[in-house]
């Protein structure tokens, strides 16, 4: 297991600002061409994740979170999906410039991997778990024989805390429970000790108790290997429990990002505030449960100005006219809202 992680273990709370980010996404634009025209589900997204750091990307469904994920590994639906602009730098290499072959051979699963939304359908039903977990090891040349692939697959299953991993190598996915299947998928993703792991709502289809266990597991794996994690979720509670930093996405753009603590204590963007208000609080005998009115804009009919303006209680003529630039709120906290650039934080959402 020691040779699996070439990196030494960094304490989780150490400042990481001094080292370059392992994942640096710059102005990423993803296009989907449909018969009705081209959509931009991801429209100018930028973020960085350091080694051993977890970035949470939160937002409603349809905000472009999953499309951002798929873009990072260039797994967009084909035909029609493509990265139209921007860079995805992993340890300094721009993945958008590589050939499909290079990407598969040296990057996917080797240095950047992904855990997808639905663990029930992410495993091939007709091949054994050992075969599937061993696949990335074999194709990346980390296992030179069948026996070695099996041994290392068992090792990976052990690292995701699957009991008696050797005995389960020859089992098929349908012989595992939902939570165990998600562990198998995670074992595939971390088998080659990648530097970046993208987890797209890895727990949304699991029981709440299993969700907590999975999140703990990701934290442990991160402490062991220093992997940078991008966690996509629509659940603010999950984001709060594991993320170092949070990016809030709305209609294809990041409207606010910063240290998790900052985002929860001093949300700057009206949309972030609305999201936080929508979390029911325990022990607070409150009025009605808060719900944000309206719907996110259609990708086919994007408003010209601030994309949140049609639902925002603070919107004025300026908001409808042009998209606001990012305002720097200090310590890496940034938000895109006209109210911030004019008169500081808006009063209420």
């Amino acid at each position: 297991m020691t040779e699996m992680s070439p990196m030494d273990h960094a304490p989780a709370d150490q400042s990481r600002t001094d080292q370059p980010p392992v994942l640096d996404v710059r102005h990423l634009v993803t296009e989907l061409r449909l018969r009705r025209g081209a959509l931009r589900p991801v429209d100018g997204v930028s973020f960085r994740v350091g080694r051993g750091e977890t970035l949470g990307i939160v937002g409603e469904s349809g905000s472009g979170k999953s499309m951002t994920c798929l873009s990072l590994l260039r797994l967009l639906p084909r035909p029609g999906g493509r990265i139209a602009a921007g860079e995805v730098l992993v340890a300094g290499t721009d993945l958008t410039k590589l050939s499909e072959k290079e990407l598969a051979r040296d990057w996917r699963g080797r240095r950047i991997s992904m855990v997808t939304q639905d663990p029930m359908s992410s495993l091939n039903p007709v091949y054994t778990v050992g075969d599937q977990v061993g696949a990335p090891l074999r194709y990346h040349g980390l296992a030179h024989s069948r026996a070695e692939a099996r041994a290392r697959a068992a090792d990976a299953l052990g690292r995701v805390r699957i009991p008696s991993p050797e005995a389960r190598l020859d089992d098929f996915p349908h012989q595992f429970s939902g939570g165990m299947r998600q562990r198998v998928v995670s074992a595939m993703a971390i088998a080659c000790a990648p530097e970046v792991m993208i987890a797209d709502e890895p727990t949304s289809s699991l029981d709440v108790t299993i969700q907590v266990k999975m999140m703990d597991l990701y934290k442990q794996i991160q402490e062991e290997t220093g992997v940078a994690i991008v966690l996509i979720t629509h659940d603010m509670g999950v984001a709060a429990s594991i993320c170092d930093r949070i990016a809030v996405m709305y209609a294809g753009r990041i409207v606010e990002q910063g240290p998790a603590r900052e985002i929860f204590r001093n949300p700057a963007h009206p949309y972030t505030r609305a999201l936080l208000n929508a979390i029911p609080k325990l022990g607070e005998k409150s009025k009605r449960l808060y719900a944000l009115g309206g719907q996110p804009p259609s990708l086919l009919d994007m408003p010209g100005g601030c994309r949140f303006a049609p639902r925002c209680t603070l919107a004025d003529a300026k908001c409808l006219a042009a998209y606001p630039g990012d305002s720097d709120l200090g310590s890496g906290h940034r938000a895109a809202c006209w109210r911030l650039s004019e008169e500081g934080a808006p009063d209420a959402a």
């Binding site: 639905d118 007709v126 091949y127 990335p136």
Partner: protein, 306 residues
């Protein structure tokens, strides 16, 4: 699993019994074989004596019971025409039919699997259209016509292939193409659509996301999942080729069961027709049983369910 097999075998026995009853009645509706066996001026007494010797004087239901009883002991009677035990005749001709049907099935798979898989991967490409055209041609032409064209081009004009008989391995090629081209269209279509579904699935994307090469994803991970509907369809066509190669066997003078049954039918050679159809039904049931069993080999979920 054992219970499942037993149930299928039992169902198969009922199918065979049903087929034997239907063919028994229908052959008897086709006319009196004694009329064909004796000259028209034969005296009535002789005709009656002949009927009694063949057991044809009994009511049909009694004839059927006698036939069934004999069949259970492996006795299918004697051919009126060839004057030899029907069992020997069938066992002499059956292997040739199985051989031809297997070759035809192999031909159909050799075309339809690559056609279907590559068409799915490159849907809308020139290859997709080309494969569809080749496959449709086979479905559009009756197999005897394909057979005659093959003979005309490859045996008569080019003189590359033997036109009829079954003496060398080369003899099977043209009848196999004539018989096996027809299912190519349907098999290609089913492989293509199953592959399209599977290639969109999460587990293929997962495989891609950990760096599994595209060729492995398509031919190993995806194809095995797409194979179940193909095996179902293939089993049906194989069974029908076993029992229905009559025309192709006649065109190529192939010494199989189909041609034997056709000749026996014209001669009102009841025992041969009955046994021939019975064996075709048995082959049909066995082919379907093998298809059912093969699901478990392909898909472990089916294996563990039963």
């Amino acid at each position: 699993m054992t219970q499942f097999v037993l149930r299928r075998v039992l169902q198969g026995l009922f199918s065979i019994l049903g087929a034997s009853l239907i063919i028994f009645v229908i052959t008897r509706l086709s006319g009196d074989p004694v009329v064909l066996m004796l000259p028209p001026e034969a005296p009535e007494a002789l005709v009656q004596q002949m009927r009694e010797r063949l057991g044809l004087h009994l009511p049909v239901w009694q004839q059927y019971l006698v036939f069934l009883g004999d069949a259970l002991t492996g006795d299918f009677g004697t051919s009126y025409r060839w004057d030899m035990p029907v069992r020997d005749l069938i066992f002499e001709r059956l292997p040739a039919t199985i051989y031809l049907a297997s070759a035809a099935l192999a031909f159909s798979l050799v075309l339809s699997i690559p056609f279907g898989v590559i068409s799915a991967v490159r849907r809308g490409s020139w290859f997709d259209r080309f494969a569809k055209t080749v496959a449709m041609l086979g479905q559009a032409m009756p197999n005897f016509w394909v057979g005659l064209l093959l003979i005309l081009v490859f045996s008569i004009h080019l003189e590359w292939m033997p036109a009829f008989g079954a003496d060398t391995p080369a003899h099977v090629i043209m009848p196999a193409i004539a018989l096996g081209w027809y299912p190519v269209a349907a098999q290609t279509r089913i492989v293509r659509s199953a592959m399209l579904d599977v290639l969109e699935s999460d587990y293929i994307r997962m495989g891609r996301s950990v760096g599994v090469p595209e060729g492995v994803l398509v031919w190993k991970y995806a194809f095995r999942n797409a194979a179940v509907p193909l095996v179902t369809m293939m089993g049906v066509y194989f069974a029908s080729m076993l029992g229905g190669a009559f025309v192709v066997e006649v065109v190529f003078a192939w010494p199989g069961l189909g041609r034997t049954v056709v000749e026996a039918l014209f001669a009102r050679d009841f025992p041969v027709v009955q046994a021939g159809v019975l064996f075709a039904a048995i082959m049909f049931v066995i082919a379907n049983l093998l298809v059912d069993l093969s699901y478990g080999l392909i898909d472990p979920r089916i294996r563990h369910d039963r």
